[in-house]
């Protein structure tokens, strides 16, 4: 049954529905006092109602809020993120030229803006009304709970469902279930084809832009900066302007309650690049930071390994072809090439080199270390020889200390911010009261914990572990020599170690089981597990992903030998 009254102002019958639940005349924008409570709920299902068109978007609502769309919110988020990146030293073009264009392209492709709305498309503005009306009678109108449970939740927002259900059962009058215009729509529609925007995806955008500009920030670094708070992500909505009100389903979209996951951001980025039909990205050449030669140098330093190892990483890179431009450069949509994780790749190269030189079978490396120790005792002149044992002790100690710090940081992580979140106006006061109590308790217990001030956010830094040659305790191994473990053969330096063990004889099909190999700690030597753990800590990524890359590189390196028929034992002679 349509609402057929004539508008008192312009006598037209052309009604739309504001988010406040009031009828407004589309011809003259006169808002009536009639609200949906008066009308039978049949109205909602039968009539075609359109939300206020973009032209009058900025119309102020009664509570001082304006109307806004979800994509506007994300645009703000991206803006904040890229500004933070600029503050970290990224080139300013990234914001105005690169990211901006990516974003516009995305909006266009996903038909959220910069295009004509398909004719006849209706946008149902949903409201919560779980009062006496029989919800089941209308299968088309999804309930608030249903919407909340539809999308994958980040973190714990689903537990708040019970909050919401209790709230909405109590309220008799209609209340908007999202502060944005299209919040409910966003969650409801089948967005599979359109690549719906999410908070982790904002980081994918950032990473994509960084990659395009070839900035010296790896994905693992970017995510670490996010967690450390240098890049807005958690609680970024507190920077939304005052009149952009968030409530209800908006929270599901913008509220983050988990740390971003490398794999998720990485995969989404590739999906995005393909979705946007981007051309081949700018070449990653040898002079780029992301090239394995460069990254290996950085990681060798950070892992406190001798600089001399760099020659070896370069050799491995060359031999396996992973330093080739075509291998490294991203070609969106190309399903045949393996997507490159630059940071993980570099770490894996280093591990392969360590295996080449030290074998890492829990015997040989200690043996070599023993020899080096002897030599170091007798020869005090010249640089020291690299002793695996000493290196292990020094690095393990630092790693344990840092890991312990990180574990405490995880436990002390604060997720909420000053700006309160509430699902509806009804539970706003409850939320505010709770917030106030939390602040009070924090003050009280803060005092009881002594004057332990929460440490100031440390400045963002590229290195998590630092070693200085100036330390006289010999804890820096950069300048140590590999002499003891190398020999010259036919004019070429080779490792004394004649053996190598493969992590796996056969690679899995990544598309089927998600991994190239399956890493289980008990099946591998402790030394190998240790170096995996070291890089796992530095990159904040699971050891199994690094293990995958190691397997991949090994198979490239020993390609010829593997393609011949192998005997059942895994040990190869180089």
């Amino acid at each position: 049954r349509d609402f057929n009254e004539r508008c008192p102002q312009c006598s037209e019958v052309n009604w739309g529905l504001t988010d406040g639940g009031r009828f407004y005349c589309r011809s003259c924008h006169n808002v009536t006092e009639r609200s949906r409570e008066v009308v039978n709920t049949d109205f909602i299902t039968n009539s075609r109602v359109q939300t206020i068109s973009k032209g009058s978007r900025k119309q102020e609502k009664n509570d001082g809020g304006c109307e806004w769309y979800i994509c506007e919110g994300f645009q703000l988020v991206l803006k904040k993120q890229v500004e933070a990146l600029e503050a970290l030293g990224v080139c300013p073009q990234m914001k105005d030229e690169i990211l901006c264009n990516f974003w516009r392209c995305y909006l266009q492709k996903s038909k959220q803006a910069y295009c004509k709305r398909p004719a006849g498309e209706t946008v149902k503005a949903l409201s919560v009304c779980e009062s006496s009306t029989d919800v089941d009678s209308d299968p088309e109108r999804p309930s608030l709970l249903h919407l909340l449970s539809l999308s994958e939740s980040e973190g714990d927002l689903q537990t708040d469902c019970s909050f919401v259900s209790s709230v909405s059962k109590v309220s008799e009058s209609t209340s908007v279930c999202s502060g944005s215009v299209d919040g409910s729509l966003y969650l409801m529609k089948n967005q599979k084809e359109k690549l719906r925007m999410t908070m982790p995806m904002t980081l994918s955008f950032c990473y994509m832009a960084l990659l395009w500009v070839r900035e010296p920030i790896t994905l693992s670094e970017l995510l670490r900066f996010v967690v450390e708070g240098h890049i807005p992500y958690l609680n970024v909505f507190q920077h939304f302007p005052e009149n952009m009100r968030l409530c209800g389903l908006d929270l599901k979209i913008f509220c983050v309650e988990s740390w971003p996951v490398y794999e998720e951001v990485f995969n989404k980025m590739h999906e995005l690049a393909a979705f946007l039909d981007l051309p081949r990205f700018p070449d990653i050449t040898e002079s780029c930071f992301l090239h394995p030669d460069m990254l290996c140098m950085k990681y060798l330093m950070e892992a406190n390994l001798p600089d001399e190892l760099h020659n070896w990483t370069c050799r491995v890179v060359k031999k396996t072809g992973i330093g080739e431009v075509d291998f490294l450069t991203l070609m969106p949509g190309n399903k045949s090439t393996r997507k490159v994780k630059y940071d993980v790749l570099a770490a894996a190269v280093i591990i392969v080199v360590l295996k080449l030189l030290f074998l890492l079978d829990d015997h040989y490396e200690w043996l070599l270390s023993g020899f080096a120790e002897e030599r170091n005792k007798n020869n005090t002149e010249g640089g020291p020889y690299f002793e695996f044992k000493k290196w292990y002790e020094v690095v393990k100690h630092s790693l344990d200390v840092e890991q312990k710090k990180l574990d405490e940081e995880r436990a002390k992580y604060l997720w909420r911010c000053e700006k309160p979140l509430f699902y509806s106006v009804k539970n706003k006061s409850k939320v505010l009261k709770r917030r106030q109590m939390v602040v009070n308790l924090q003050n009280q217990f803060g005092k009881l914990s002594g004057s332990v001030q929460r440490a100031e956010k440390p400045n963002p830094s590229s290195f998590q572990l630092r070693w200085s040659e100036e330390n006289t305790d010999g804890s820096c191994f950069h300048g140590h020599s590999l002499k003891g473990i190398l020999q010259e053969k036919h004019g070429l330096l080779t490792a004394m170690n004649p053996d190598y063990w493969l992590c796996t004889v056969k690679l899995c099909n990544e598309k089927l089981c998600g991994h190239l190999a399956h890493y289980r700690e008990v099946e591998f030597p402790q030394s190998y597990h240790f170096v995996l753990g070291l890089f796992s800590f530095l990159l904040r990524i699971q050891p199994s992903y690094i293990h995958d890359e190691v397997c991949m590189i090994e198979h490239k390196l020993f390609n010829k030998k593997l393609s011949k028929k192998l005997k059942y034992n895994r040990v190869l002679r180089k």
Binding site: D156, S162, R410, A411, R434, M437, L441, F445, G450
Partner: protein, 411 residues
């Protein structure tokens, strides 16, 4: 762990909670407070499906931290007021805890105010659900009323000595009595351990001469099977009966169950003394059992009084020549370990040095149970004779004379 680099709100707070627990276990209160500061955000999430929600965690842990920190009562009171608002199902419990802390801090008046406030609390069906806590609150108010009564009583007694009589004080006192009695009576109807309430109530009843009621109350408390087994109940009953001058028979029956529950109770000495003197053979037999059982416990090893009880009874049996089998029975389960436990040479030396009476009594018992050649007896009697103490010479003679008794016991 495989998810080490992932983190979400819930996992983060779980980790936080385990750090808090570790700190508490190691009594690192400041560190616990530090982590609790980060934990309190959990209040902003809905944990209604969890067994124990963050509000309860914060209440319990926060109270513990406050208790061990040097913070002002003002801060603590503020904290408790906030905790009261957090969970209506817990309201009265939190009130009670607050009141305990006030009492521990000597703030009796504030405690009383809080008790009255809590008593007047009503909240729909919760009032009925939290009925037990309400009774407790009323009981504690009754307790404080008793305390006030007691103060008034003391004032009266003082004035009474001086010859003054103070009507106002007396009336106040009676007023407190009425208030206290009503509440105390209620709580002790419910099965539970109410030692302090029972004691106070009985005290009131005795003062006003209502001995029947007092007896009734104590009987209920001790013998009603619905109440948990409580040695103190029997002790209170016994003490009351003693005050009332009841017969030995009554007193003995009051202590029987106490012996069953707590064979090492200090009243066992009284018990044994009464039993020993009884004309009934069964009772004397029981007396022996009681004193042996008490001395099984390490806490009694150096109790000269206990040993003298045993020694007296053993001596009496040996002299009469009858009922040596009693000793034999008691000794059979102890002869494997009592020698090392009580009668080692080391203990002989120590007992002799520290407490000659103790060593005397023990030596007598040892001499009978283990014979004149046992280490303990030999050492002590030798030392005693060397020191020319008459009673030790007598002891030596006695044991030597009654060596056949030993032979009969051990054989």
């Amino acid at each position: 762990s495989s998810d080490e680099h992932k983190l979400n709100f819930r996992k983060s707070k779980e980790a936080c909670l385990s750090y808090i627990q570790d700190a508490l276990l190691q009594k690192q209160w400041k560190r616990a407070a530090e982590f609790l500061t980060c934990y309190v955000e959990s209040l902003e999430k809905d944990y209604s499906r969890e067994h124990i929600g963050p509000s309860e965690v914060i209440w319990r842990i926060g109270t513990e931290i406050f208790y061990h920190s040097q913070s002002s009562m003002k801060e603590f009171n503020y904290f408790m007021e906030q905790m009261k608002t957090l969970g209506v199902k817990r309201y009265l419990k939190v009130c009670l805890e607050h009141i305990f802390h006030l009492l521990c801090n000597g703030q009796i008046d504030e405690a009383y105010q809080n008790l009255s406030l809590a008593e007047s609390w009503r909240f729909g069906e919760q009032t009925a659900v939290q009925d037990k806590e309400m009774k407790l609150i009323q009981a504690y108010r009754g307790l404080l009323d008793y305390y006030s009564w007691s103060k008034q009583k003391n004032i009266l007694l003082e004035h009474g000595e001086d010859g003054f009589s103070d009507l106002a004080v007396e009336q106040e006192m009676h007023g407190y009595f009425r208030k206290a009695a009503v509440n105390l009576k209620e709580i002790i109807k419910i099965p539970g351990v109410w030692d302090i309430f029972v004691k106070c109530y009985v005290d009131l009843l005795e003062f006003y001469g209502d001995h029947n009621e007092a007896h009734q109350v104590l009987n209920e408390y001790a013998y009603n099977s619905k109440f948990p087994a409580n040695p103190n109940a029997h002790v209170y009953l016994y003490q009351f009966l003693k005050r009332q001058g009841e017969s030995k028979k009554t007193l003995i029956s009051a202590l029987k169950i106490l012996h069953d529950i707590v064979p090492s109770h200090e009243l066992m000495i009284d018990f044994n003394t009464m039993l020993q003197k009884s004309k009934k053979r069964k009772k004397r037999r029981m007396g022996l059992e009681v004193i042996f059982a008490a001395l099984d416990y390490a806490g009694w090893k150096e109790n000269a009084k206990a040993w003298s009880c045993l020694a007296r009874q053993v001596k009496q049996i040996v002299i009469s020549g009858k009922h040596l089998d009693w000793i034999k029975q008691e000794w059979s389960s102890r002869k494997d370990w009592w020698p090392a436990f009580h009668f080692s040479r080391y203990l002989a030396k120590r007992n002799w040095q520290e407490n000659k009476s103790l060593s005397y009594e023990k030596a007598l018992v040892a001499g009978i149970l283990l014979g004149k050649d046992c280490k303990y007896f030999k050492y002590v009697s030798h030392q005693g004779c060397k020191a020319q103490l008459k009673r030790f010479r007598m002891l030596k003679k006695f044991v030597n004379r009654h060596n056949p008794a030993y032979l009969r016991i051990s054989g």
